[in-house]
Symmetry: C2
Subunit: 429 residues, 2 copies
């Protein structure tokens, strides 16, 4: 089953916004065993839209469009699709009711001036082609809809990404899965995403070399999402159980080859969220002492709601005398070893542990560049230290990674998280 | 002059990566008065690539492609274009020489095993269609090239974004500008981007309403890049001087209507960079005391190289007793007013100023949510304080913005920067 994705908007063709909807839709369709053959973007122009849709229904089995459903005169998708289907646009009453309810609330809150005036303009965006199947929008005003053109289903969605996601999740995805099923011959997909951190993509792909070679329907892909790499393992088979079984078998191989590198699986939980979740679950408190990262580690450790249960606080010790005054690093240590050294990192971590009274304390000091490097300590030299309550044994990690400033800072913060994650593993054991 | 952009790659059509090249190219072409009519993505498939290119040269005046120039068997662009042009692929000798030189260096550094082996595979990516105009790649291995198909120039570029940017900047952009000039009838563009922070998009567009209505060739666009809004003013005219003059006239209107909101112009310098640059230029030192932002403000203030000249450090006082111990906030203040209050923010800023000995100190305390709100202090309530050396007059700002956690944190950090920016304005005056 072949899909074509069509995204519509002058702002796309002027390069003012990057089209993320096409990638979202293509990925979701691929999960349904629907292969996207073409992705096209065009302007808010009737002739071009007619041309694009006509071509799409001529070569695809399903067409998914986004954009052109707003309230302005530039928003032409309802009109173009109605014209191609030979019907008139009509008001979708449930969408209109939701709109009035929402504007009523805004009006009550003093947020808008005049509900009639607003409604007159906005009514444009609750239209659908007469007879269309409506895909309700749980997030915004404009409903999605579907019509058949020359027997090919054409689904039209708003261009606002979170509205498009909302419509997909609340029913469109399941509906397209049914369309796919009805055609038969469906390949089932077993799939797992491994999140890998601590080695580069080339080392990770090298480690997995040959793994899937003799396994029918299996493939492995790598996607760098700096500083981590996603390893995507896929097995396709007409029979879901067979695909699942081969995936389970391969799973052992991936985990063995990437031991110590894979920290989790799945789409959603990154190392940042995993570490914060584990700290909260176990009631382990943590403090941070940061130099070259400037607060990034603290920012990461406070992204998740509820992080105040684990993260007590930190010191950003950018200047040397802040390291002395706020963290208790010895002047003699700085003088003898410098601010970027194993000894300074260790004293920063121990100082943070004492001053914050936390279970764990992690310190980062390094040279993020582009200036400040020396032959002994080139740009990308970073020391990371993890201290824990009740022990003077501080875990150390040295990085030497000559990248760009922002990458060095992000990599350093993630390595600090990795030390914490490994410490939680040890305490678990 | 109409352009078509074609991006090629299975990973695009599977939704594994978002196509940013199309937006980049469309924006650059638009600056040259070349309008992108179509943007198409297809798979690494000979028939589909032939189809897409044939269609593109049938309806556009110039075609720009990206992708399919790598070393693997999946990379088919050179073969497809050669076939359509009726020529054979040939090795581009300058690109080959650069490749050998680069591999030689890697070999000397012990980075690769065998230069002959590597070269054999990699030679594939230094091919171009015979007779093509080569657009050298200053960043990577695969050269860009250009051939005429049915008289229409077709430019092919690597899919790696920084290589594509490098080729554009090092000559392709100028070359396409010449092609555009040669066709005559060029509309010149005068253009200015205003960076606005402190009001929402709707208030900003309301303030500018009617501004360009009576000005020939003028248009104004708004692009939200949370937490700021870009206001894009464009004047088109056959005569550059006339366009420039009308832009200069409109400039006064924009600045008057958005006084206190526009903090800068241009593509590159955000408020983060502007504030850091000004602090460094004037030798003004700063410290941060952060609660709900968890280190984000420090992270922003240390993004730019050289920021250690201005940013001394900070305290992330997430837990209440850290506010007391590390910043000297009075227990009585916390007890009487709470952690999120004008009084606590003020004491945090004064405490940071004393402990870090900085010229300026900025404090943020608020409720980022989603939990923790009360009727008195709902989620999105944030107090920001700016203290300065030699004065006990602390500048205060209260936010009440009920958004998502990440947005509240980013907005708060930007407001802290805005207070600093305004303080630097006052000191300048």
């Amino acid at each position: 089953m072949r899909a074509e994705i069509l995204t519509i908007g002058d702002e796309l063709c002027r390069g003012e916004i990057v089209d993320t909807n096409s990638a979202y839709l293509a990925a979701r369709l691929w999960d349904l065993d629907i292969t996207t053959r073409w992705m096209t973007s065009c302007n808010d122009d009737v002739a071009d839209m007619v041309d694009a849709m006509t071509r799409a229904v001529g070569r695809a089995d399903v067409v998914v469009c986004s954009g052109g459903l707003g309230p302005t005169e530039d928003d032409l998708t309802v009109d173009v699709v109605s014209q191609l289907a030979g019907v008139e646009p009509v008001i979708d009453e449930p969408a209109k009711a939701r709109m009035l309810e929402r504007f009523g609330r805004l009006l009550a809150a003093g947020g808008v001036g005049n509900v009639e005036e607003l409604t007159r303009i906005q009514l444009r965006q609750v239209r659908v082609p007469g007879g269309a199947r409506v895909h309700a929008n749980p997030v915004g005003l404009a409903p999605g809809f579907e019509v058949a053109l020359r027997g090919v289903p054409v689904v039209c969605l708003p261009g606002v990404p979170r509205e498009l996601y909302g419509i997909w999740d609340s029913g469109l995805g399941a509906h397209l899965a049914q369309l796919r099923e009805a055609r038969g011959d469906v390949e089932r997909i077993a799939r797992r995403i491994y999140r890998a951190f601590g080695r580069g993509e080339s080392q990770i792909s090298q480690a997995c070399r040959g793994l899937v070679d003799d396994v029918a329907g299996a493939s492995i892909h790598y996607q760098v999402k700096f500083p981590e790499t996603l390893v995507k393992l896929v097995v396709r088979d007409r029979d879901q159980a067979a695909a699942d079984a081969r995936l389970a078998q391969l799973d052992e191989g991936v985990r063995a080859r990437l031991a110590g590198i894979v920290y989790g699986t799945g789409d959603t939980e990154t190392l940042v969220e995993k570490v914060t979740r584990r700290l909260i679950e176990r009631g382990v408190t943590i403090a941070a002492a940061e130099s070259c990262t400037g607060g990034m580690l603290g920012e990461l450790l406070t992204r998740m709601p509820g992080s105040s249960k684990a993260f007590l606080g930190g010191v950003v010790a950018y200047a040397d005398d802040v390291k002395v005054r706020q963290l208790g690093v010895a002047q003699a240590t700085l003088a003898a070893h410098g601010a970027v050294s194993e000894q300074t990192a260790q004293e920063m971590a121990l100082g943070a542990r004492e001053r914050f009274g936390s279970n764990l304390a992690v310190a980062i000091t390094g040279i993020a560049g582009p200036g400040g490097g020396t032959p002994d300590k080139p740009v990308g030299t970073v020391w990371i230290a993890l201290a824990r309550r009740g022990s003077d044994d501080v875990t150390m990690k040295k990085l030497s990674w000559p990248g760009a400033r922002d990458q060095i800072r992000l990599l350093s913060s993630w390595w600090a998280l990795k030390l914490v994650d490994e410490q939680l593993d040890r305490e678990n054991a």
